[in-house]
Assembly symmetry: C2
Homo-oligomer: 263 residues x 2
């Protein structure tokens, strides 16, 4: 079992109640990553809804989560043949830290038209990629390799685009799955770091992920783009392709950008 | 008072309960439009959260809503100085039809960096625009004028892009506001009609809208794009600019595409 699956496992204690553990292994400073928290909630939703794949999941981040035990309240909102919808609340010390609302289904049984309007970017050459330095606990879990022309911000060379193109994977060698894709949409440094440098603070208010296919084993090709930063509010749009160049997830979050206090 | 504001007004009956009316004036066939329902919920959230603007609002559409009275249950999830978050459930006949989770704030007081990475499309020339025919009740409320090169699908000429660029406004002449922007992200025919024709059925599973600024009076410039249709599941991304070319809202929905049964 991979680290991510191990660290998002939950235990059902009643029809509407699960328990889990927010491990310290997926943190930014002492703050657990929002995509990691979504992974824990998604495990509860998968079990509670009896459907394997998150077609769409939205998280609202209400209060800072902490490393340690977490209670998860589950609510079935609607049970359907192909799509079921529910809600999972992450509660620590009696305080709701985040709420996730999601529709789950079975991507192996989903049928209908397929049409692709945008090709994926070229996979960066691993020999010339810029590796992100390990400065946070979460960086020990993932191996981010940025396309050279997209990773100059890492060495302090700022540009005029808020976009990251990178190859990502778990450092423990485990393959991605539909629930770990949720994490991969939120584990990369903010796109605005490419404009303003890495010292800012970019908390997520809301994150929505659509999973479209179960990923093939291997690396993930990821693109994150911000087009509109409006009075400190920004979207970050993510697209993830698997090693077969199949689009497997898209994401969008609303975040705040705060410059460092020292400026 | 404009028709949209009039038809989304709600009455508070207790701390957590409001009443409203789903009028038949914003329907597609006999089905009330999802953006109109979001407008009703947003009115409750605005009052319940005591903040004027939806920074992000997500709707999960659970069951078909009906024209007629609607009960709205409100829950305060977190009250903050600049951002407050809550939930509104639209209930008819004891059945929850849609649930909206949202963070509201005051866009006039939001401070921080502004940066624009993408220019809006050119405004189409109104003299050469293609006007959408009035085939549904909802069309009586809005005046959609499509860019000529983007509106050929209306006369049955299908293309290879799932994109609409159009100018939109209320037919009653009322100016857009932050709550009516929610409706404007969901009132246009589906983008996939440009690929496959207008006979399909494209129900929304989930819709998230970020409002970034209060719109200036006048027309709205709108772009809707689909890039990935995967086994009948698709996103529809919206961008809306006001008459000052200011980005005022972005949206993304997850919808299903079903071809007409006759095929």
């Amino acid at each position: 079992m991979g680290e991510f699956t191990e660290d998002t496992k939950v235990e059902q204690v009643s029809e509407t109640h699960w328990k889990g553990e927010v491990t310290p292994r997926w943190s930014v400073g002492s703050i657990p990553n929002g995509g990691y928290l979504m992974g824990i909630a998604a495990q509860v939703l998968k079990e509670g809804l009896s459907k394997p794949d998150p077609l769409t999941i939205t998280g609202h981040y209400l209060d800072r989560a902490e490393e340690g035990p977490v209670d998860i309240d589950f609510e079935l909102m609607r049970s359907g043949r192909s799509v079921s919808t529910g809600c999972a609340k992450l509660i620590q010390g009696g305080v709701e830290r985040a709420r996730f609302t999601a529709s789950f289904g079975d991507l192996e049984k989903t049928k209908g038209e397929t049409w692709v309007g945008t090709e994926p970017p070229a996979w960066p050459n691993p020999e010339t990629c810029i590796t992100h330095p390990n400065t946070l606990t979460i960086h020990d879990r993932i191996d981010m390799r940025f396309a050279p022309e997209e990773g100059a911000w890492i060495s302090g060379e700022l540009g005029d685009r808020a976009e990251h193109i990178l190859v990502n994977r778990f450092t423990d060698g485990s393959a991605p799955d539909p629930l770990s894709l949720l994490f991969f949409t939120d584990c990369v440094p903010p796109t605005v770091f490419a404009l303003y440098g890495t010292a800012g603070w970019v908390p997520t208010l809301e994150l929505t992920v659509q999973v479209r296919a179960r990923p093939a084993p291997g690396d993930l090709l990821c693109r994150f783009t911000t087009r509109y930063l409006t009075n400190g509010l920004l979207e970050e749009d993510g697209e993830i392709w698997d090693s077969n160049n199949q689009l497997v997830a898209i994401s969008r979050q609303l975040a705040k950008y705060r410059r460092p206090i020292s400026e």
